[in-house]
């Protein structure tokens, strides 16, 4: 994966964006509603018995003769879950490579930001993954593990569901969503209270297939066959059906409040990452 220094610096300047922040239990760089010991002052409250005397603001006591303690923000980490589709359908037109690259980039952003990263490569089931990765030092292992993830199998987005430990964080699903149960699977990730981001990897070749004449089409995952005459009318109908399918997924995500981004398989990685920076995307600049 082409992660040069400049690109890594770019990634380090990004942060994963979660609409509803559910922080983790570990300290991190993300603000938490709980009281903490960070340097960020929040407000005062009256002293109660048992409070640490070190937190009493003596200046206020001198002025008002009442004991108040200072309250500070707590900073916790974000538990990011990256699920990347390595099924058979992703083996066309460079989709799998782009999906892995995006997964690597997003994961690196999480690690660089101090978030906890869990990830999974899935087809019919989860075929590779890791949990609880922290720090940039884990990045190399993460990238190697991604590259080594075995590919193949049918697409079953239920296998993209985050593990229980990461269910309350940010789930990023990178796939071509060639699964009739994709919407149900995405919806099922929501009750766990996590944020779900759908990154849809598509290819121009899918929309404009270079096919003509009488063909016997075979599904790469199911092996199901279909005889078609790839004439102009059939190709137009195919494009219409595919576009409608993609648009329906996008509309579903909008209804569910899930950020949805479409990434072109042949696009440079920087462009693909940039697409995630757009409003409603999965990344933001610090």
């Amino acid at each position: 994966m082409p992660f040069d220094d400049a690109f890594l610096r770019t990634l380090e300047s990004l942060v994963l964006l979660a609409r509803r922040l559910r922080t983790g239990e570990r300290a991190g760089e993300r603000p938490s509603p709980r009281d903490g010991a960070s340097s960020e002052f929040r407000d005062y409250r009256s002293y109660v018995e048992g409070d640490d005397l070190r937190s009493v603001d003596w200046n206020v006591y001198a002025r008002h003769e009442q004991l108040h303690v200072k309250r500070f923000d707590a900073e916790r980490d974000l538990h990011a879950w990256v699920a990347v589709d390595v099924s058979e359908s992703m083996g066309f037109f460079g989709k799998r490579g782009q999906a892995l690259a995006v997964a690597a980039a997003v994961g690196y952003v999480a690690l660089a930001r101090g978030d906890t990263l869990s990830w999974g490569a899935f087809g019919e089931r989860r075929v590779a993954g890791g949990e609880g990765l922290r720090g940039k030092g884990a990045g190399i292992g993460y990238l190697k593990a991604l590259e080594a993830a075995p590919a193949g199998g049918k697409t079953d987005l239920r296998a993209a569901a985050p593990p229980p430990g990461a269910s309350r964080g940010l789930a990023i699903v990178i796939s071509d969503f060639c699964d009739r149960g994709a919407r149900e699977a995405l919806h099922a990730m929501r009750p766990r209270g996590g944020n779900v981001v759908a990154i849809h990897v598509v290819a121009d070749e899918e929309l404009k297939p270079a096919l003509s004449g009488p063909l016997r089409l075979a599904d790469a995952e199911t092996g199901r066959e279909l005889d078609v005459d790839a004439d102009e009318g059939t190709l137009a109908a195919y494009r219409e059906a595919l576009t409608a399918r993609w648009d329906a997924l996008q509309a579903f995500c909008a209804r569910e409040g899930m950020p949805y981004r479409r990434v072109l398989a042949r696009a440079p990685l920087l462009d693909a990452v940039s697409a995630l920076l757009k409003p409603g995307g999965a990344l933001a600049r610090r």
Binding site: E88, S89, M90, G91, F92, F93, K95, D176, C178, R180, E206, P209, L211, G213, P214, L215, R216, L217, A218, D219, A220, E221, T222, R224, E225, L226, D227, V228, D229, G233, T234, L235, A237, Y238, E240, A241, L242, A244, R245
Partner: protein, 560 residues
Amino acid sequence: MTFDRPLFLWAFLALAPVVAAFLVKRRRTRVVVPDLEAWLSAAAGKRVPAGWRQFREAGSLALNLAACAALALAAAGPRPSAPQGTDWALVFDVSASMGASDGRWDRSVRGAQEFARGLPRSDRFRVYLAGAVPRALGGWREGGEELPGLPRPDERSGDVAGALALAKEDPAARAGAVKTVVWSDREAGGDMAPRVAQAKENVAIEGLDARRRWNSPMVDVVVRVTNHGRGRAAPIVVAGFGANLEPDYRLLEGLDPGETVLLDLERNSRDGGILQVSVGEDSLALDDDAFAVVPPLRRALVFVVAPEAKSPFLSSALAALGDALDRDSGLVEPGREEPADLLVFDRCAPSAGPCLAIAPPSSAAAVENPAVTAWAADLPLLRGLDLSRLRVARARPLAREPGATVLVDSAAGPLAVASPDRVVLGFALEDSNLPLLAAFPLFVRNCVEELSRERPMAPAVTGEWVTPFEGEYEAWEGGFTETRTGPWRATRPGHAIFTKGGISRPLAVNFFDPAESALADPPAGRELPSPAKPPPPPWAALAALAALLLAADWGFVARR
């Protein structure tokens, strides 16, 4: 059904690759796609029932096979064998007038060629030549083919009626299917006779007679010239012969249309030779020149063969010829062969060669006082003679042999007959009053002239057969010499020289035919009908059908 190019029927084997290509095409290419869902949605709206699809594929195969079969059939050039066509007899008048310089012959040949090319292939044609002897030229040919090579028209006459009869009776023609087309500048029969000629001016020499005066260097020449044109003509007549003699020019003041003049030209020549008379060149070259042979002035060598003393009557008759006789002439013994101009056998058997036989030995019974009933006064031998007072006391009548001409006839039989090289009298001079008549010396002179070994041959006309000698001889004409046997045919105006045994016989050949020279009134002609437009060849219809089938396949089957 017949085929012009039957080898192309092998193209039907191309149907097998068509079927194979169809089967190969029917096998769909298998393509693996990431997801079939969108394709299923797209195909759902265009799903074709299997039965209709199979019918459509079978229909496409049938249309393609039919188109290929039609193309193969078209390439083979099918031709319906029925119905029977028409046999056309193309009759060409090859008489001399068709060779006029106005191009009527070329126009005729061109028109006939176009006509033959326009005939459908079911028709046939054959060329007939209407010359002096009508005849067919080559066999029957199919419509559209080229004409056979035609000779130039130079014959003396054109027997168009004979050619038409020959065509109608052609055993190789299809019964009841013969139609005739005549290309002639004369009124002719035939089903069609296109106009080939326009009226042309023509002045023709229609006769020439050149005769040397007896024992004189003077030659009397008479030329007959006729204007066959529609306007007045003033031709110049040129006559000349011999190597060292200037030609004689004579300007005719004017000849009205149809007028004929006889022109007397007196020439002085001891050597003789070929006399050529010409008028100016005009539409018909054949009648612009005429030829005559003028014998040289020479003394005749005459020998008299008699068993006894020479008849005094004969002696006096020969003496009357004066210096026309060679001084070596005289009496010889019987049986002695002499190279003489004339041998006179008096009361003895004649030998071969030109001779006058007087009362030769005969087994015929003698007849007393046979009455002379007729004599051939128009023959050269009796030219200028009056034999009305001829009386014969005793004679042995001669046989009427074929080829012999009766000179003097009687109730008892011929008294004098002539063959080409001899004259025979059936009575002795002493038994008649012939020696006492004034006609006798003239008769002897005529015999010397007409029976001389080197007498000029009578002029011939073109197309005539002449026999200059018996047996083998050499014939010279136009600078070429050939050895021949039998008759010789005169083909063009001019002269020929025949030689045998040191004896030369020149011959003048002329084209004297007023009918052929008259070019003023060609017939209006009956134009040929436009050739019936032949139906389009079957191959064109088949090719169109193939294109239609392929278009149907593309439009109604392949495109859907």
